[in-house]
Amino acid sequence: MNLEMLMQDPALWGLGIATLAFAMLAVSVKNLVHAVLWLGMSLLGTAALFAKFDASFLAAIQVLLYVGGVVVLLIFGVMLTREHDNLAAFRTTRRPVRAALVAIALFVGLVHAILNTPGLGDPSAGKLVSMPDLGMSLLGPYAFAFEVLSLLLLAAMVGAVVLARKRDPGQPSAKKLIRHRNLGRQVVEGLAATDEVGQ
């Protein structure tokens, strides 16, 4: 499968256009929540594109991490902001020229990088990467980078556990609470025993 054949594939076109359209919607709608959800759709479209190129591992990871993780975190973030409808900063483009320059630069850079990718359009280079190969290369040539990343993740996870364990200093410990409760019971009993006031 080479580039020309790919270009003629209607499914590819459809997916690409849909992804782009969702991305456009994500940056243009006024409602922040809708924007996040459109972003999720756009990421899903990217995943579908990966799947289209038989990179099913990448597609699944895309869905798992970006849609299932990042978008959900974004939702959290949006909910924690005060005004998620009609955010003022969202309505206007304040610096259109600078933004356009950055966008164009990014686009040119990306096109340049893609066109200079070795083996583009070469049918022999489009070998399917199987799962074991992926695993082997991750733990073979790229083992160091992989380990560094996993260390980071491990640190994050340990941090989460530590945070969960940490007790709020304002919160009395269970022992203290029980002592308080017993005290309260004594007070009530004492009250009942010495209650001589008739109403």
């Binding site: 409602n31 929540v33 809708h34 959800l37 999720g40 099913s56 591992f57 699944a60 990871i61 869905v63 798992l64 849609v67 299932g68 993780g69 978008v71 959900v72 975190l73 939702i75 959290f76 909910m79 199987s130 799962m131 996870m157 989460a160 556990v161 945070l163 969960a164 364990r165």
Partner: protein
């Protein structure tokens, strides 16, 4: 073209069977719950109340549709649809037997986890779009819970992946046919991994004791508070389908899928038996236990489930390296 046809046939088959099974799964749950409470349960509509799901469906179909004031109509409509879709889509890769599998993906397990994690978005959408504080709190709780319990879910399924060396669900089953079921072998850690997976599954499908997103005593009906008629029905069915598919996946990963005990009469029926048993056990738990509080839920996850499942992954790697070679 043949692939498309096969996909259509299998897809239609899976959806039909799954929805039917889920409908009578609801009946089963009601009967089970009734018996646990010394009641009879539905028994007037049809023989043994078997037509009860049909009556429920007919009733839901004719209910008025209400949009709350200020609701986000698009998301409000979309959410129930997506919940059910994602739940059913998960079933596409589940191997019910050596032949009956919709799509035997290389990364079947990842696909399942990805779609399972995705479930939370429509659930949250339903909560947010309702413009109702109870629904929104329910949705936020669902998100928090799903993110937290996604970690042990992934880690425990990673245990299975490390043992079997494959992410294909049928590959996992084939490994178990050769070496024994993962829940039983290696003795000890396998069971622990299975139990942790099961707990995370309960949490992901919002079942008691982890059903804080729709805690009736605090949140009216959680995310479904504002839903009427068939949209409520879809949300409801989506949850059941989610549980059903989750049970099937637990059966595949840890209970040897279609493999019979001691390889006796292996086939589709074993898968069905295991799935239904797990499904019923979810509801057994549901009608027996109490609900966690929100903070207890998080503490349980991050203080116990995550460290234990991390340890299990390490153990699995060591076992794989030194014992299985």
């Amino acid at each position: 073209m043949q692939g498309l046809l096969r996909g259509l046939v299998y897809g239609g088959l899976i959806i039909t069977v799954l929805m039917t099974a889920t409908a009578w799964g609801m009946w089963l749950e009601r009967k089970l719950a009734a018996r646990m409470q010394s009641r009879i349960g539905p028994n007037v509509v049809g023989k043994f109340g078997l037509l009860q799901p049909v009556a429920d469906l007919m009733k839901l179909l004719q209910k008025e549709e209400i949009y709350p004031i200020g609701a986000d109509r698009l998301l409000f409509d979309l959410a129930p649809f997506l919940v059910t879709t994602f739940a059913i889509a998960t079933a596409a890769v589940v191997p019910f037997s050596a032949e009956a599998v919709g799509a035997d993906l290389d990364v079947g397990l990842l696909w399942v986890l990805a779609l399972g994690g995705l479930m939370v978005i429509p659930v949250w959408m339903a909560g947010w779009a309702s413009n109702n504080k109870f629904a929104l709190i329910g949705g936020m709780r669902a998100v928090a819970q799903s993110i937290s319990y996604g970690v042990p879910l992934v880690l425990t399924s990673l245990v299975a992946v490390v043992f079997t060396g494959t992410m294909s669900l049928s590959g996992i089953v084939k490994f178990q046919i050769e070496h024994g079921w993962l829940a039983l072998w290696p003795p000890g850690p396998g069971v622990v991994a299975f139990v942790l997976f099961y707990m995370a599954l309960l949490a992901e499908s919002n079942r008691i004791p982890f059903d804080i997103p729709e805690a009736e005593s605090e949140l009216v009906a959680g995310i479904t508070t504002e839903y009427t008629g068939m949209k409520f029905g879809l949300l409801y069915v989506g949850e059941y389908v989610h549980t059903m598919v989750g049970s099937a996946i637990a059966a595949v990963i840890f209970l040897g899928g279609w493999d019979g005990p001691f390889h006796i009469a292996s086939g589709l029926h074993w898968m069905v038996i295991k799935t239904v048993a797990l499904f019923a056990s979810v509801y057994w738990v549901r009608w027996s236990l109490l609900r966690f509080r929100s903070d207890q839920l998080m503490r349980l996850c991050w203080l116990y489930l995550v460290p234990v499942s991390l340890g299990l992954v390490v153990f699995a790697a060591l076992w794989r390296h030194f014992v299985l070679r």
